[in-house]
């Protein structure tokens, strides 16, 4: 079994004719992902990157079989694009779009929950199962197949850390961005559950950042469930001042809440190894593995 995406994934690209949609359709196909159709309202009958374009998801499904969606449509239309994918039974739905109003995300996540659909994002680089397939905008070549599951709130930082792991000979089972927005579909706890039940994952890396409580919640979960797989983490934003949004809508320290130091402390309390700088992560994972084998 592969998590979220793999060889079995047959994806529709919503917003396929836009710059990003079209460019990344090409890269996803080159990586080996099956992209079976595209959707852009008003462009039905066209073709983009050799993929047939339909006006609606439903129209595409009359002609082809699909089981996943990746969304590139502009923020004002993203909520409905997500609902359209959910209505059609596509699962997972990966939302690359950033700057979606929080209220729209809130309603969309409630809709997804009601229909049992998994949303990755919004404002995510997507999901990759190295060596199999990717639904996302990440550069494929920094990843390598292996046993470490990676979940992150950031895009480029994930690529940075994946490249350290790859260079150190540590491959990855699945890497995904939960998204840089205040409200996202999957959170760290959901992902920890998935990695726990995934046979191809033997250790987990969490890449957090300032703002919110996703890291603290993950730490609570690790403690409460006596999480069986080793977890290492990095938290970005120690140098960030309070009250300022650091690029991501969700990356903001409010009052005394959401600081990197508090998150790192909480992780350490529950036995997660925390890297001071991202390049330490491979070493921490190797130490942890050695410690586990000794036990």
């Amino acid at each position: 079994m592969t998590l979220l995406v793999g060889k079995q994934t047959r994806a529709i690209v919503q917003g396929i004719t836009g710059n990003q949609g079209s460019f990344h359709t090409r890269l996803m196909r080159e990586y080996g992902t099956q992209i079976v159709a595209g959707v852009t309202p008003g462009k039905g009958g066209a073709s983009a990157q050799g993929v047939a374009v339909y006006d609606t998801v439903a129209a595409a499904l009359e002609r082809i079989d699909a089981n996943a969606s990746i969304i590139f449509v502009p923020a004002p239309f993203a909520k409905e694009a997500g609902m359209e994918a959910i209505d059609a039974g596509l699962n997972p739905v990966v939302i690359i779009t950033e700057m979606i109003p929080a209220r729209d995300s809130m309603v969309l996540m409630a809709y997804a929950k009601e229909h049992g659909a998994t949303i990755v994002g919004p404002n995510t680089p997507g999901v990759i199962t190295p060596g199999e397939a990717k639904l996302g905008i990440m550069p494929g070549d920094v990843f390598s197949p292996g046993g470490v599951g990676v979940a992150s709130r950031s895009g480029t930082l994930t690529y940075e850390i994946a490249s350290y792991l790859t260079r150190a000979g540590i491959g990855q089972s699945t890497c995904l961005g939960i998204g840089g927005d205040p409200i996202t579909g999957l959170n760290f706890v959901d992902v920890l559950k998935m990695f726990r039940d995934d046979k191809s994952t033997d250790a987990v890396v969490l890449i957090g950042e300032i703002g919110g409580s996703a890291e603290e919640d993950a730490a609570d979960f690790i403690e409460d469930t006596k999480y069986a797989k080793p977890v290492a983490a990095y938290v970005a934003g120690r140098a960030a001042p309070p009250g300022k949004r650091m690029g991501h809508a969700g990356a903001i320290i409010t009052g005394t809440e959401g600081t990197a130091d508090a998150k790192m402390k909480r992780f350490r309390e529950v036995g997660v190894r925390v890297a001071e700088v991202p390049s330490e992560l491979p070493r921490l994972l190797q130490q942890q593995k050695a410690a586990t084998i000794q036990q």
């Binding site: 700057m99 109003p101 809130m106 895009g155 650091m246 991501h248 390049s279």
Partner: protein
Amino acid sequence: MKLFEYESKSLAQNLGINTPRGGLASTPDEARDIHKRIGGEVVVKAQVLVAGRGKAGGIKFGSKPDETRDRASEILSMTIKGERVKKVLVEQKLAIKKELFGSIVLDRVNKCQTVLASDQGGIDIEEVASKNPEKILRHRLDPVFGMRGFDARQVALKLGYGGQRLNALTDLLSNLYRLSVIYDAELVESNPLVETSDGKFVAADLRVIVDDNSLFRHPEFQERSKEASAEVTPLEAKARENGLAFVELDGDIGIMGNGAGLVMATLDMVNHYGGKPANFCDVGGGADAEHVATALQIIQGDQKVHKIFINILAGITRCDEVAKGIVEVKKVVGLKKPLVVRMQGTNFDEGKKILDSAGITTLEKMDEAARLVTSPKVA
């Protein structure tokens, strides 16, 4: 986007929310005239976006119009936490029976809006939250159906009200919720929310923060969102006009990178090796040469910057475009500060070649580059 108290209250009044009678003044004389008009005793409040104006002396009382003029004059000459006071709100002093706290916040964890309320209003609510967390009532709202009448009634009842007062508070809470929906607010907060001795509920203070990502569907805030606010430094305003995510800091190493997480990690790493970042600057994904050049010029134009660290992990972004941007700046205005460039990823070889031929060294590892830029070798 944070709204001023007077802006928040003007939105609230249109929805039938009680606020104290009063007016906005930019001069001491205007403040005096407002007092004359409304009579009684008044409170003069600094209109600033930063929190904590009360403790900083930004709220004063006036029993006569001349006194109000003097108090207004004092407040109008104040700078509170770096924000200059330009306007004051002059309002009638309420006959307070009880001070409550009521807010509707975006709840990230539960993916909904949540009502936070307390009968311990009027003071710093974070203090209440840390000392007496049981004094804060939390009531989650359905993400689709929002606040229904019974939600508001449950909150009013738990705050200890019955009869007419329960209905009055229910109405006020419902209207605060309506405000959050109509204006896509991530926060609506009234502290204190005052119960007056004649049984009314009045939003004595009101703070609204509008979700920046929803501004595209709020033409009413279009002009306002362009105004330079005290929370944005002139340098930040200039950078943001140019499409950069930019936060000014107080160190001396200018930072540019692609992706919020990577740039945050870059600041952390510079700190870790003993340096002090002068800014956070994210050029975003897929930045072209021109965008990079603009960012570099803004950073090197900052007086306090002594050296610059460019950290690019290219995915959608291409190293050759970044290199072209840097070389462009070198040609046109010159590189005015020592520069350390780290690049990796898409079109690295092409990018390195461009920088090599311009005499600029490129490093491939982030750690190495961070160590170099923080060492005395680069000065």
